[in-house]
Amino acid sequence: MADLKVNIGGLELKNPVMTASGCSGFGTELTDFFDVSGLGAILLKGLTLKNRDGNKYPRMAETPSGMLNAVGLQNKGVDYFISKIYPEIKHLDCALIANVNGSTIEEYVELTRIINELEHIAAIELNISCPNVKEGGMAFGVSCPHAGAVTREVRKACSKPLIVKLSPNVTDITDIARVVESEGADAVSLINTLLGMAIDAEKRIPLLSTVTGGLSGPAIKPVALRMVWQVSKVVKIPVIGLGGIMNATDAIEFFLAGASAVQVGTALFKDPLIPLHIVDGIDNYLERHHFGSINQIIGGLQM
């Protein structure tokens, strides 16, 4: 067994494979299938201060090698999370990372402050890239000043490792990455979904209640890989790569491009066991290629 431990901005993980936020619920749905102690970390479903109903049905459309979603951060709010969900998950033998959302900087900060108190939350992922909410969300992630400001303020409220999740819907993602790094992010994760749309040609209506939604799955992998490669060249903090990862080979590609860890999102819908298969596959790859540690292939692309 090769050494799969990675350190993401102070967060020690037993292996570099996490589930992506919004694709693995609060972890309990996964325990119906397997023992989550095999995962590097679970990214919890996006949280907001108050209850959010999310967007209207339909929220999903299948696309070539991918899907669009328009969930819109449905969750019962942080109080409910702390009283009902956190007690159920806090003893899971797996790092838990909260995904923090807001419509204003104040909301982001307040939510961070609350979650920062929770002992069993290992890190905070600041989501400035949700394309499915009217206010906040992606608006922060596509502008350097906004991305910088929210990171700066949240940083003050956050003593845990702070990961900022970037939007791919930008002209130059390295600009945003540099700004959040300079404002104190301990790591960046990328990419969130690409803004897309689907239409029912027969009915002449949009397939999503919100018209546009977020594109995820294998279709976006080439874009995600490119952005991870670009960003990892310009920042010193660790990069967490995601976007269309379906198997160990995909994950290895992200490590080679410069990711220090990966997240698995849409693939979970196809098979919740995929993250475990990926852990095994990475181990197998490292052994086959005679690497003792995952750290030896991070950024290992030969040009």
């Binding site: 619920g25 999310g54 339909p58 999903m60 899907m67 969930v71 799955g217 819908f269 919740p272 066991l273």
Partner: protein, 259 residues
């Protein structure tokens, strides 16, 4: 042991079963997990390059001893069409058991099931297990024409089954809601319905006027099928609920349907 599994079952039979419909008999290598009527499986669609996600199908029949799990697949589009072509011997990857299932009737209940379209499977599964438990359940199935119904001999003998067809070619003429049994709802204390939304709403409306408990099984679009994506939601008195975990079966009173 895990409560849910991702597993491969072998296609033992794939038989035509009424127009544009197949009965897919799947066999497990190991013992199956327990499945209740109204629960479903999420099937990985093989071969079709245009299908990315799995497709959910209600369980039609289970034979624990022979490790058989049977589905009724109606040709409604890309995924279902591909499944209908799958050859015997082929392995299908499924996730199961999913969803809550129907409230099982208790002795003394006089249950009625009303179904149509792709909603026939879970109702007949329920009726047949009820019969085994000594509870007689009436089943009313509607379709456009005789050819669209599952063959009558597919329905277990211990189930009293009524048919309606829009063209009168089998059973009573008209929609299920026009059928005699729907005029005698007082003789039932539970109604289960699954099928096209307009049908379910019409049935639920009649049940409401007679104050008969009514459970509906929804077929909202799903991405994951096990509660993590929040794509399949239905508005309820408790807020948006996941059809895949908190359903697919709901008491109609919990839904915000305008009926």
């Amino acid at each position: 042991m895990s409560k849910k599994a991702v597993t491969e079952l072998t296609v033992l039979e794939n038989l035509p079963c009424g127009r544009n419909q197949s009965m897919l008999v799947l066999q497990g290598e190991h013992d199956l997990l327990p499945v209740k009527p109204g629960q479903f499986v999420n099937v990985e669609i093989p071969d079709n390059k245009e299908v990315f996600l799995r497709r959910p199908f209600s369980v039609f029949r289970v034979d624990e001893e022979r490790r058989l799990l049977t589905l009724l697949v109606k040709d409604l589009g890309k995924g279902s069409h591909s499944l209908m072509q799958v050859g015997t011997g082929r392995k299908l990857n499924i996730i199961y058991p999913l969803g809550n299932g129907f409230t099982f009737p208790v002795t003394g209940d006089r249950p009625l099931a009303v179904g149509g379209g792709s909603g026939v499977a879970p109702l007949l599964f329920l009726a047949s297990l009820a019969a085994s438990a000594g509870i007689k359940m009436d089943v009313l199935l509607g379709a456009r024409s005789a050819a669209d119904h599952i063959p009558v001999n597919t329905v277990a003998e211990d189930i009293r089954c009524f048919f309606t067809t829009e063209d009168g070619s089998l059973g009573a003429s008209g929609l299920v809601t026009d059928h005699q049994v729907m005029k005698q709802l007082d003789s039932y204390n539970r109604i289960y319905t699954c099928g096209p939304l307009p049908m379910m709403k019409a049935v639920a409306a009649l049940a409401k006027t007679k104050s008969v408990t009514c459970e509906v099984s929804l077929e909202n679009l799903m991405a994951c099928g096990f509660g993590v994506c929040l794509c399949c939601i239905e508005p309820t008195v408790e807020g948006n609920q996941c059809v895949c975990t908190q359903g697919p079966v709901f008491n109609v009173n919990d839904l915000l349907w305008q009926i």
